[in-house]
Point group: C2
């Protein structure tokens, strides 16, 4: 027993960060511009104004180092923020490692993940701009839950297009969205042209995230009092998530430590960027010597095996073109249980930072990840969502490496959510039913061969 060293490092509400951090201000090179899919010219604010309020568009392109968090957003954040930083004493003992393992836990939020960190400001800025309704898509349901909660705080209506297969198989997420006051439509739906077109050809379509995005965007574009909200990938989303890393820095300061290694899972990139970017600022400024490692599923390895190229953000190719690590916009990942990591691309900002050599990336198979998740649950008492089990697998790997070398490294893990609504995946793992999906070279080549042609940028 080491009751002398705390297992929880808490911040007082008064220590909550008052501003978000924008990594763009400190990078040695600017990220490539986003291109209009028709003209191939960089998109301007007006191109985006049909979907987003001007303040979010401004945040998407700002080069200012910090953006103040509005008081009305802080008032909602404090329902669960600052989130706890835990020291995993019992996991360390079970592993027999000299490493010190810390995890920043975002499962204390209303949606049970980091998603409300951006859902709340997105709802706030839309309400402030006079918008009455937000639309979005959801796959597993995490993002839809977060946005429904956020909309309830500012009196906005919230409509969520949930992929039909998920809508039928995961009724709990739908009910949680409805409990927060949101309205859920199975996608494809009869409510949109995109949905009707799909249903006309495939009446029993199970839907896809690409179709759901098309429906949510169509509804927002067609109604002046309605906007659209996205839960990851974009710069303003990662900006909002930096409260995670800012808090963690303050928490480490309380115990006089800094992390040697940070591991986080990456799907769209918002959880990883939210924790890592403030630490990357410290690293770039020479104040911290830290290795930052992204962990992605072996079946959807956009950073470790994808190409760095301009591609669409959605499956059917209607969004602006973003330069990012991608497996190709029509790549359909194998059905692994970490639904939040099944995205063909990677946040352009994370991709850019990776290209600059500022972060590392590894890929993990899902069985190793669930093994880590079960180990973590039995020692630390939290059943993690399938997504952060990827970070936990890499964390345990690092801790066992320290056991061999005797290094007392400080490891920080992004535990971005609990798995209470993902227990079916644990059931499948415990029953020995999970398989690892490694992306084949043939499939990888096929997927990346349909990237859109983009002219070389003018000098």
């Amino acid at each position: 027993m080491t009751m002398g060293e705390p297992s929880k490092i808490l911040l007082d509400e008064s220590e909550m960060p008052r501003r978000w951090y924008n990594i763009v201000a400190d990078l040695p090179a600017a990220p490539p511009p986003v291109l209009h899919p028709g003209t191939m010219a960089p998109v301007g604010p007006d191109d985006l104004a049909i979907l987003f309020p001007m303040e979010l568009i401004r945040q998407e392109v700002t080069t200012e180092r910090y953006v103040d968090i509005p008081e009305d957003v802080l008032d909602v954040y404090r329902l669960w923020r600052p989130s706890p930083l835990y020291r995993a004493h019992r996991l360390e003992r079970a592993l027999g490692t000299p490493a010190k393992i810390f995890y920043k836990y975002e499962g204390v939020s209303p949606a049970g993940s980091h998603k409300p960190n951006t859902a709340v400001p997105q709802a706030y800025y839309n309400a402030a701009a006079g918008i009455r309704r937000l639309t979005t898509e959801t796959g597993a349901g995490q993002w839809g839950t977060a946005l429904a909660f956020a909309c309830a705080q500012y009196g906005l209506d919230c409509e969520v297009w949930q992929v039909r297969a998920s809508y039928d198989q995961k009724p709990y997420r739908k009910i949680m969205i409805e409990t927060f006051g949101g309205v859920v439509h199975p996608s494809p739906s009869e409510l949109t042209g995109a949905g009707r077109a799909v249903l006309g050809r495939y009446p029993d379509s199970p839907g896809s995230l690409g179709i759901a995005i098309s429906e949510a965007v169509e509804m927002a574009a067609g109604s002046p009092d309605t906007n659209y909200a996205l839960g990851s990938v974009l710069n303003h989303v990662l900006l909002h998530q930096t409260v995670i890393g800012e808090e963690a820095i303050a928490q480490f300061g309380k115990v006089g430590l800094t992390p040697d290694v940070i591991v986080g899972c990456t799907g769209g990139g918002s959880n990883f960027g939210g924790l890592a970017f403030p630490f990357l600022r410290e690293k770039l400024a020479g104040r911290m010597d830290v290795t930052i490692r992204a962990v992605e599923p072996a079946s959807c390895p956009s950073l470790t095996r994808g190409v760095y190229a301009y591609d669409f953000g959605d499956t059917i190719g209607r969004t602006p073109l973003m330069k990012m690590h991608t497996l190709g916009h029509d790549f359909i990942p194998d059905p692994i249980h970490a639904g939040g990591l099944r995205y063909h691309g990677m946040s352009p900002l994370i991709s850019h930072v990776y290209e600059l050599g500022l972060i590392e990336a590894v890929a993990k198979g899902q069985r190793e990840c669930f093994e880590a998740g079960v180990r973590f649950a039995r020692t630390e008492g939290i059943v993690p969502a399938p997504e952060p089990t990827h970070a936990l697998a890499a964390c345990i790997e690092e801790a066992l490496r320290c056991k061999e070398t005797g290094e007392e490294k400080v490891i920080l893990t992004a535990l971005c959510g609990h798995g209470h609504l993902d227990l079916a995946a644990y059931g499948a793992y415990l029953a020995g039913e999970l398989v690892d999906h490694e992306l084949s070279e043939t499939d990888l080549h096929a997927a990346t061969s349909t990237l859109p042609a983009v002219p070389a940028p003018s000098a």
Copy 2:
């Protein structure tokens, strides 16, 4: 906005209570003894030693005011304790009440409820006594989850008999128990004489809590290295839960307030007693003037409409006889969604305190409770378990009374768990499918007419 007044009152780990509080030491009259069902004489330690370790038996009957919490229990408690005390600013504003509403939140624990507060010490004392395995029953699954987690901390095996209907309908709870390393059997099972007897007559039996208790007790009684664990009702269980109230007193001390009204839901009584008893100590000592109100379901109103008499703790009548408020041991409550409140009796200690006039009790229908739960979720961001929605309904009633009178009362609510695994109940409520079950006079009379005959105590 009132960012000046905090929404969370946190304690440091070093401020965690170091001892449990025993209300028996401060009551004006001793509680009636527990009787042996065969001899009708008070039970002694030896009668209980076949199921429980001697330290828990000692705690069951102790009259000492405080019991020290072992270091190895504190080391597990601190995974989630001290639990937060929240100020419900956003609920207050939505209600327009001058009352200050606080809630003590136990949903941060590994099982998502207050249950691990006693599961952990029960597992600890059994392991210290050389026991290798614990058995128990579970209805909805909360208690089974807590015990499985606790057993994993001390290297004990854990076997849970889950009521067949629940086993089939609530697979998530079963998976969560298994994730923590527990083994789950549907009850009735072929593993016990009790189970086989039921299956012999009713091969498709959906089971009952009474049958599951019989199976778990039979397995424990028949094996020297196996004990049985109970999640509520008994004195030592309520003793362990007093960490909740002790922390809350310290937390109110930090903001210079004391509660005027405390509301908590009561099933077996452990959540309510855990929060209320330390405050009752303060009230009995004249240091606090506080109204303490128990809230129970209108369909299972043991305190408000049951009789105060000796009765069995289980349905089939094999346990010792306890004097308590009861609806009769063969009373089968209507199938309301707050499974944790569907118990025919009430903790003997809570019953005794109620008879002494030290606490109040009210009953609520489930629709009012779910309405309160949804209101709470949309303002405070936590979807409560169905059980504490009863306390929230009474809390909102009190807050709206304050709105009429203008009183700025301080209300404290026991929010004993989250509802992430109870979303089907919210779905039924939102779909308008829930009905209120009021116990009829006829049914009440029938249920309480089969109480066991107990001779008058010798003077």
